[in-house]
């Protein structure tokens, strides 16, 4: 018996949609957390509800990264895959995220009826040098699953995995109990537990190794949370009282959480008839003085553009959340990408002003709403919070962030401003119109409009007035540019290469810089949290590195720089090219960054 101990290990459970792979993952990670481990979890979700079983589209699963340290991203390659049949396995192999020593546990249950297909996939695995451990669910368990109407296979696999990860059976069973608890009838529960146990036994017989996972006591008050939940709770903490949205993947779960939670905090979740109506209502509510937010993903962002421009012209504060997904158009709704940046910065017609904040992890998600509201109300313009599928859906265990309970925006604590590398804004900021009262205020009566107006709010088409209004609006953004401090830097303050990142790539970048340091490469990372406007000192900072590159989950090539590279080029005139700019729907991995850094530096 081989017992491996690895500092970092990543494994995957792949099944057909609708059979509970993610549920099994949740139980497992509950157990890991109880063991004091750090984990980072990424669910894999099909874009259809239940695509036909045994089709590539049906792939549904979970990737779990297990670490001794606070992992900031889903990591590099997978060490172990447990697949319910050869097709989901084959589909996943396409992404090429496995380790050369990766072990594959393949359920051979379907082989009899699909021998050729199994043959082909097994051949592929051998060609790639992967170790395959074929197994079959025992007959007793098969019958139990049949009894359960086809359910329960996930518990069986869970059993296998907990054997391999050397877990305490009792403890995992407690987690199962916790998860299904009252939902299942006792006899059904019993059957599930038996399946779990049988899986454990099977692995014991079939698998020639175990991975040593030590248990140690948890420290501090911890929570397990995903990006969208964190953003939702952050909105409440920041004092938002109206959420106005229209369902769209991957933004919807923010609305689902708030629909349950917000009324208890005195707020309303409004599901509008479409994205235009959703943003219109948020604008109406904010005009009424109530902090409001609208939330969407790509296609909905496009629909909101007209109102986005309106809000800044009428000087009505607004917060817009864009949870990015694979684009363009309908694209790949359940995959990650970072390609909406240009549309967020430039999407509404004419010269319009906006501020763009990005989130890189669950803690950013919790505090971004506070900053967004602060900026929106101080400047009376739309502030975006950009997340993406990866940040939204991945979850991890963190120390519980401190609640702020923000009521007025000036209460925003310094630690939040510091987290986003921005200083407090000047007290008085000029507006295009002098009066800015909220309905109900006697003597503050005013009409707002998307037409150009003079300082008194009267419609005006004069050349001087129009140019002045543009200046005032743009100056608001410049206030932010001047308030931005040096962005977060990982690694040395000067060196051979600087890797600039934003959004969900932060974790991979940080980890890659550590890998580089280990190999003696003088690489540093710069992570931008406010992505528009850009801070004013970038050119200076860039000059301290021989090369400056970006990493982006977005398309770019030699003739077309990827979005962040494009913006940085125009801003600094430094010849910035993407180190990685790929729209694969998959997160960027630290080790690939390391590899590309080496390539680029040896050129």
């Amino acid at each position: 018996m081989l017992i491996e101990k690895r500092p970092v290990t990543r494994f995957e459970l792949l099944m057909d949609a609708g059979f509970g792979a993610q549920k099994a993952g949740d139980i497992l990670l509950g157990a890991f957390v109880a063991m004091g481990k750090f984990i980072y979890v990424e669910p894999m979700i099909p874009a259809e509800i239940s695509p036909p079983a045994r089709s590539r589209a049906a792939l549904s699963g979970v990737i779990i990264r297990l670490a001794e340290f606070d992992a900031t991203n889903i990591g590099n390659d997978t060490d172990l895959i447990l697949a319910s049949h050869e097709i989901v396995l084959d589909r996943r192999l396409e992404d090429r995220e496995y380790n050369s020593k990766c072990v594959i546990l393949l359920d051979m249950g379907d082989k009899e009826i699909n021998p050729d297909s199994y043959e082909a996939v097994l051949k592929k695995c051998t060609e790639q040098g992967l170790t395959v451990i074929p197994f079959a669910t025992d007959e007793v368990s098969k019958n139990t699953i049949k009894d359960l109407g086809g359910r329960g296979q996930n518990l069986y696999y869970l059993g296998m995995l907990s054997y391999i990860y050397n877990m305490d059976e009792e403890m995992v069973q407690a987690e199962i109990q916790k998860t299904f608890g009252k939902k299942l009838k006792p006899e059904v529960m019993q059957k599930n537990v038996t399946l779990y146990h049988n899986g454990y036994q099977l692995a014991k017989e079939k698998v020639f190794f175990r991975i040593q996972v030590d248990s140690k006591p948890r420290v501090g008050e911890k929570i397990l949370i995903d990006g969208n939940s964190s953003l939702a709770m952050g909105l409440i903490d920041a004092g938002f009282k109206l959420f106005s949205g229209y369902p769209i993947t991957p933004a919807s779960s923010i609305m689902h959480i708030l629909a349950k939670e917000l009324p208890s905090y005195g707020g309303i979740v409004h599901q509008a008839e479409d994205e235009i109506a959703a943003i219109g209502a948020a604008i109406g509510a904010y005009y009424g003085g109530v902090p409001s937010v609208t939330c969407t993903s790509g296609p909905g962002l496009s629909l909101k553009q007209e109102f986005i421009g309106y809000s800044q012209m009428a000087e009505i504060p607004l917060v817009v959340i864009d949870v990015q997904r694979g684009g363009p158009s309908t694209g790949m709704p359940t995959k990650t990408e970072q390609s909406d940046l240009p549309a967020v910065v430039f999407g509404s017609h004419g010269d319009y002003t906006k501020i763009v904040i990005s989130v890189s992890n669950v803690i950013d998600c919790f505090y971004a709403p506070h900053l967004a509201r602060y900026l929106a109300e101080k400047l009376c313009l739309p502030v975006f919070i950009m997340s993406d599928f990866q940040t939204a859906n991945s979850y991890k265990v963190i120390a519980k962030p401190k609640a702020v309970i923000m009521d007025q925006v000036d209460e925003i604590p310094d630690f939040i401003l510091e987290r986003f590398h921005i200083k407090r804004l000047p007290k008085d900021i000029e507006m295009t119109r002098t009066v800015q009262a909220v309905p109900g205020v006697e003597g503050g009566m005013r009409r707002v409009s998307g037409l150009n107006t003079d300082k008194l709010g009267r419609v005006n088409y004069g050349s001087v007035t129009n140019q002045q209004a543009h200046e005032i609006r743009n100056e608001k953004v410049h206030h932010v540019a001047r308030a931005l401090t040096l962005p977060e830097i990982f690694g040395p303050e000067e060196g051979d290469i600087l890797i600039v990142s934003w959004g969900s790539t932060r974790g991979a970048s940080e980890e890659a810089i550590t890998l580089c340091a280990k190999e003696g490469i003088k690489a540093a990372g710069m992570h931008l949290r406010v992505v528009y406007p850009l801070p004013l000192m970038l050119k200076d900072v860039f000059s301290k590195y021989k090369k400056v590159v970006t990493i982006e989950v977005a398309y770019g090539d030699d003739l077309k720089p990827s979005p962040l590279a494009f913006f940085l080029r125009a801003h600094t005139l430094v010849d910035i090219k993407p180190l990685i700019a790929e729209a694969t729907g998959r997160p960027i991995r630290p080790k690939i960054i390391l590899k590309r850094v080496k390539e680029v530096l040896s050129q």
Binding site: A272, S292, G450
Partner: protein, 305 residues
């Protein structure tokens, strides 16, 4: 962002108090009559201007909010209902009037009309129906009469117009009334009834556009329309009451309302009213009332492990 101060007793509001600049409308435009009708109502009811919001889209008619010394949102084309929805949810204490042209309401804004009506949030919705796109210079609107020549349908408008009243009734509106810019008493009475309605009050107003369509709406004769009358309805216009056909109609009768609405002849008055249709704005505030209050300092406790 300053929040409203405590309501202060305001002095008596007059029409003059409600005026701002000289409206940028053509002489003879029906829009003058409509805003005057609303101002008369505001004065009659002594609504607080500081607690009144006029919301509009884009069009000649949608300039109306500029001409009321109240709060106002001149929003974007076709979307005033969406903004009003947000205001209604955020600030149930305000008096909410929505001003929208026929193009604004029924062409680009059609979807929001559907859902404004269905959500039945409290506001008075004034549809200024001049049966034309005026501000963009004379194009066919959904209510332009067949064969009428416009810039986009120069061979004469191609289709039968949409009928805003039967559309509203078909959508399940809880309040559907019709009036015209040139019958001021009826107009003001209609707005009064609409304002007292607990929900989305759809008020259709025939509006003259002498600039582009001087021959539409023969406002000197009253042979082409009738008033609908009922104790629970709206009084026929005093000036025209004896000269014009008056028909009894119980506004609780949906089938009859649909028949009047779908008819060729025009009727002014209250077609339909149902005070019991659930109101989304009320439902949403009830949700808050009924939700167990939670402690903001423990906001993340639900995620403990």
């Amino acid at each position: 962002m300053s929040t409203p101060a405590e309501e202060q007793p305001s002095p008596l509001v007059t029409v003059k108090d409600l005026n701002t600049e000289n409206p940028r409308w053509c002489a003879g435009c029906g829009d003058f009559g409509i805003i005057m009708g609303l101002k008369r109502f505001i004065v009659e009811r002594q609504l607080s201007p500081a607690k009144t919001v006029n919301v509009s889209g884009i069009g000649c008619s949608s300039r109306a909010p500029f001409y009321f010394n109240t709060y106002g949102v001149h929003s974007i084309h076709g979307r005033p209902i969406t903004v009003a929805m947000g205001i209604a949810l955020a600030r149930p204490d305000l008096n909410l009037f929505v001003h929208s042209g026929d193009g604004d309401t029924l062409s680009i804004g059609g979807n929001h009309l559907i859902h404004g009506i269905n959500k039945n949030f409290k506001c008075v919705f004034l549809m200024y129906d001049n049966e034309i796109y005026a501000l963009t210079k004379n194009q066919t609107s959904p209510t332009t009469r067949k064969d009428h020549v416009t810039n986009t349908q120069p061979q004469g408008s191609y289709l039968n117009p949409l009928n805003p009243l039967s559309v509203a009734i078909g959508l399940g509106a809880s309040f559907v009334a019709s009036t015209a810019d040139w019958i001021p008493d009826h107009l003001t009475n209609t707005l009064k009834t609409a304002f007292d309605h607990p929900g989305f009050a759809f008020v259709h107003i025939s509006q003259r556009c002498p600039h582009f369509d001087p021959n539409n709406f023969d406002h000197k004769s009253s042979s082409w329309f009738s008033f609908l009358k009922h104790p629970n309805g709206i009084e026929p216009d005093k000036r025209l009451a004896d000269k014009t056909e008056v028909i009894d109609h119980d506004p609780s009768n949906l089938a009859k309302a649909f028949e009047f609405a779908a008819a060729e002849r025009r009727y002014f008055g209250l077609f339909y009213q149902n005070k019991n249709k659930p109101r989304y704005d009320v439902v949403m505030h009830d949700l808050i009332k009924n939700a167990p209050p939670k402690d903001r300092s423990k906001i993340l406790d639900g995620f403990d492990i």
